[in-house]
């Protein structure tokens, strides 16, 4: 069965997670439905039900039509991750260089889909103007990609969160007037690493459906220091990138962590990352909760502008994402 339009596009759109066509093998029966979602303006369409294998012709046709990403329900991410480990991440069928090359190609599709993930407004214009250039910049950074793929292996939803936050961070930085390609590229790479510390957190806690216990919350909070200490002694990392990792949970009223910094003590790249991080966390589906409507998320940010988030940055983000607001 294919071609069925989902009845409630708003809910369904945000309930899906991008996966790369490059990672699917012909004749494998998949444990999850596959959706096509050609543009943010139209609802996703069921492409292939679970357990109906794709064949070579299907895959060739998708790629020849420029379809690099399909979508799966967020609740099925664990099943996809197991599949990904079996056919790509941990298979002996691929040499390390082949695996890296395949993941690079696959990542490109997921990365580009982050730009058209149902967010209206100027995001699409930005994607058309900068998406390809930005990909080239990020693609040059093998160190960043290697870490990104390690996160993909650990927890697929954290990986898609990183690509989304990357897209949102560079868009916000650009709209705030950052135009030098080197700086935009550095912000992109920093955003792709900002939650790397979650690689040290148990997936069972990362995706827990119940409320976290205080000790589990402490473990999760440790991801910023874990990420920082992973990269702080490396030669090829910018201080601003380290601050995106270390400070993206700081809030300008001092109620964030790990330090409780206020206002200008927080690096501007970390302030950008904080908005992108919260925006994606609330608008994306997770196995444990449905996404919040875009209007509610923008209102959430506006209510916390000046207390949690930099007010000028929030104003800019809301104006571009929702020009009529």
């Amino acid at each position: 069965m294919s071609g069925q339009v989902i009845a409630d596009p708003n809910r369904a759109c945000a309930g899906l997670v991008a996966i790369a066509v490059e990672t699917l093998l012909p004749r494998d029966a998949l444990d999850f439905d596959l959706y096509l979602w050609p543009s943010a303006d139209s609802p996703p369409v069921l492409y292939r039900e679970a357990n109906y294998p794709l064949d070579e012709t299907d895959l060739d046709r998708l790629l020849s039509q420029g379809v690099q990403t399909l979508y799966i329900p967020a609740a099925k991410c664990r099943a996809y991750q197991q599949y990904l480990r079996k056919v790509v991440l941990r298979t002996r069928r691929l040499r390390p260089t082949q695996r890296f090359s395949l993941l690079k190609k696959a990542n490109r599709g997921v990365f580009e889909s982050a730009f058209r993930s149902g967010v209206p407004g100027r995001m699409m214009e930005f994607a058309e103007e900068f998406g390809r250039q930005l990909w080239e910049v990020v693609c040059d950074r093998d160190m960043v990609l290697a870490h990104l793929f390690a996160v993909m292996d650990h927890d697929y939803l954290t990986y898609t969160h990183l690509t989304n936050v990357c897209a949102y961070s560079v868009a916000l930085a650009h709209w705030l007037g950052v135009n030098r390609p080197g700086e935009i590229g550095a912000i992109a790479a920093g955003a792709l690493l900002h939650d790397y510390g979650k690689r040290h957190m148990p997936p069972a806690i990362l995706n827990k459906t119940d409320r976290l216990t205080p000790s589990e919350r402490e473990i999760i909070r440790g991801h910023v220091v874990a990420g920082f200490t992973t990269f702080c002694t490396q030669e090829n990392i910018h201080w601003g990138q380290l601050m995106m990792i270390y400070q993206h949970h700081e809030r300008i009223n001092g109620r964030g962590y790990p330090v409780g910094l206020v206002g200008e003590e927080i690096h501007p790249w970390a302030k950008i990352c904080a908005i992108a991080d919260v925006f994606d966390a609330l608008t994306s589906a997770r196995p444990y909760r449905p996404p919040d409507p875009l209007e509610d998320v923008l209102e959430y940010l506006q209510q916390r502008a000046g207390s949690d988030f930099d007010p000028e940055m929030v104003r800019c983000w809301v104006a571009k994402i929702c020009p009529t607001n």
């Binding site: 920082f228 702080c232 490396q234 030669e235 990392i237 270390y246 330090v259 409780g260 206020v262 003590e265």
Partner: protein
């Protein structure tokens, strides 16, 4: 042995040369009066008990991270408490996890420390938690036969 202000002349000279950037919160008027064992919070699972050590110490910066320049300045800091494994102190600047520095406690001995955590208390007041990281520089120089 570590407590009190019974310091050597050399240490006093070092203090005089090392600016103190700390601004204690106005409500901390009794900061230097606390003594004895630190009452551990229930959630804490520390290996060794901590003892209040309210005094001055000298912090010598060391370059640890390639992307954060740390000129070899010295600063006067306020120690808070100490245990067998580490020390906490107040400083006017933020330090970062994994940074390695030298701390000269009131007994005059320099100790290598590694920052574990940093929490902002107020303007120009950061509480730093650090662990002792290996032998003191003097001891290691003696062991290696350095002049």
């Amino acid at each position: 042995m570590l407590g009190g202000e019974d310091m050597s002349h050399e240490l006093e000279v070092l203090f005089a040369r090392s600016p103190c950037l700390v601004r204690l919160p106005p409500s901390w008027t009794d900061f230097f009066e606390k003594t004895g064992l630190v009452q551990a919070a229930l959630a804490e699972r520390r290996q060794f008990p901590r003892i209040n050590l309210r005094s001055r110490a000298v912090l010598q910066y060391r370059q640890t991270f390639p992307s954060l320049p740390r000129p070899a300045f010295t600063y006067t800091v306020y120690t808070k408490d100490i245990s067998r494994s580490g020390v906490s102190f107040l400083h006017g600047e933020q330090l970062y996890p994994s940074e390695q520095m030298i701390l000269i406690l009131p007994d005059g001995k320099p100790r290598r420390i590694q920052v574990v955590r940093c929490r902002r208390i107020g303007p120009s007041c950061f509480e730093i938690g650090a662990c002792f990281a290996g032998p003191s520089p003097a001891a290691s120089e003696e062991a290696s036969g350095a002049p």
